[in-house]
Amino acid sequence: MVNPVLLIAVPLGLAFAIPLFALFWKDAAKYISPVALGFNLVVSLLLLPKVLENPIIVSIGGWQPPFCINLVAGPVGVLFSTIIALVGLLVSIYALDYIKEGATEKYHMLYLLLLTGATGVVLTGDIFNLFVFFEILCISSYALVAYLRDKAGIESAVKYLIQGAVGSSLLLIGIGLLYGQFGTLNMADIAEKIASASPISLFVPMVLLITGLGVEAAIFPLNAWLPDAHSSAPSSISAILSGIAIEVGLYAVARVVFTIFGAQSFLLFLALLGILTLLVGEMCAFSQNNIKRMLAYSSIGQIGLILFALAIATSYGVTGGLFQLVNHTLSKALLFLAVGYMIYRTGSKEISSLEGMGKKMPLTCLAFTIGAFSLVGLPPFIGFPSKFLIVRAALATKETYFCVLIGLALFGTVIEGAYFFRVVQVLYFKGEKSNPGRKEAPVAALIPMFTLVALILVVGIYPKLVTDVLDSAASELLNRLDYIRSVLG
């Protein structure tokens, strides 16, 4: 049997080996990340069928939980690590050709560290370890946002760093308060003991934890850094930040709310926050002229929708939320990758400068169009079943509150459709009719893009491929007693 520890240990070790390899052979740096992430993808896929039956608990150091640091490879953890490894692998293939300037070996090292941190967050069963892996993720993303060293990148990285550092400090205070009350850092152990604590003494740590994690998850009103950071980073990094980093933050929020605190009364508030995030994100995206900024705001909107779906807290709702999360990861990564080469060819981020790209870069534009349609939720792409599940879950609760909110969410989707269709129109139907020379993106960029397109189509036509995994992931998040029992025995 494969040990889930390898999912963290191998990329971490290889990340720090990159500068050593680069001493002897400069190009070695860029081939190590695909190797490490390919390994992670294989291990995750091998683990996936096993953890659907029984979650694998790894105790480090030979002690039993709650006295050791443990990893919990349940359906949620392995589902997320599969997604992280898959998208990370595709984006690292894209980066082979895309990242040419600057200290490339540092880029690849930080990139691998970022994904190691993300994998660690989703697999760990210890709340302080969650903080440490979160910091690995955050620090490497601050540095990567500033990778191009241009004006915009540095300014956004400074903004991101200040807000992120304050968020992490709040998170750490929350962890300290929990430790002071319960004398343990194991998430399952805290969850077990929390029933005996008074609600008032739990309120402050919960608010601190959710605020701290909410900065990284970009929940309104903690998301001021996101549009700057995602639009000024190199496009391959934007794809990872939008596709993975904020989803991991959202996972941590869900884990804290569902598993640790089991806070049923807090969910209505989270649903409201989700819809607010959705509407703010979509409305800001509608008014943008810069295409990467538009995509960044659209990420805020999608995060809001996922948060809303998770906060419905029925089996359908959480499944729909996780499905939408998979959709957003695949589609938004595809959109950023496609936009990366369009910007590279035109040299401008303005939407109006993309006129006539449909003839110059037909394959890239096709990929962009499919990503956009999938994000809006058109059949037969993956966005349709996920949004359909969310609407169905909200209506199935039969509560006026959720029905009103899902109406607002659908209104947000209409706005989303409007600005994505506008870009697609600019790509294909604007500009001069003459046929300019074709200059397609290189093969190393087209392979990951069309792998994503294939995944979006296949899962969209045949959603049964993923729904089993999503169902058991949803039940892991909702049944905290099962989680506690499986960890503590």
Partner: protein, 119 residues
């Protein structure tokens, strides 16, 4: 005065945390904001230490004779703080190097004058 005696560390820790937050929110100079981040980090670390501290406690080493477990301080928060200090150093170092770059681009560290990115 017994209240002050019992909770002196907590008062100090949260005092530092609020001073740090105040500096980050109010000051315009990036270096001062980074100093604020440092103070905030210190406050959080002091808070974590005081969670496990016992007045006049000793190190938890069982092999020494004449020491009882009631008198030992909790070692876990100290291990946490060691990790948190390292993370804080990394963040501050990165922030300072970004500040150098920012100064090279804009010729100022005043955050109110650096407003290229807008909603």
């Amino acid at each position: 005065m017994s209240f002050l005696n019992n909770y002196a560390y907590y008062i100090g820790a949260f005092g530092l945390i609020f001073i740090g937050l105040y500096i980050i929110l109010v000051k315009h100079n990036l270096i001062k904001v980074i100093v604020g981040l440092g103070i905030l980090d210190t406050g959080v670390n002091l808070f974590l230490i005081s969670v496990g501290y016992i007045t006049k406690g000793t190190a938890p080493i069982f092999s020494r004779p004449g020491i009882y477990s009631e008198r030992m301080v909790d070692p876990v928060p100290q291990a946490l703080v060691l990790t948190a200090i390292v993370i804080g150093v990394a963040v501050l170092a990165l922030a300072l190097s970004l500040a150098i770059r920012l100064y090279q681009h804009y010729g100022t560290l005043n955050l109110r004058k650096i407003r290229e990115q807008k909603w």
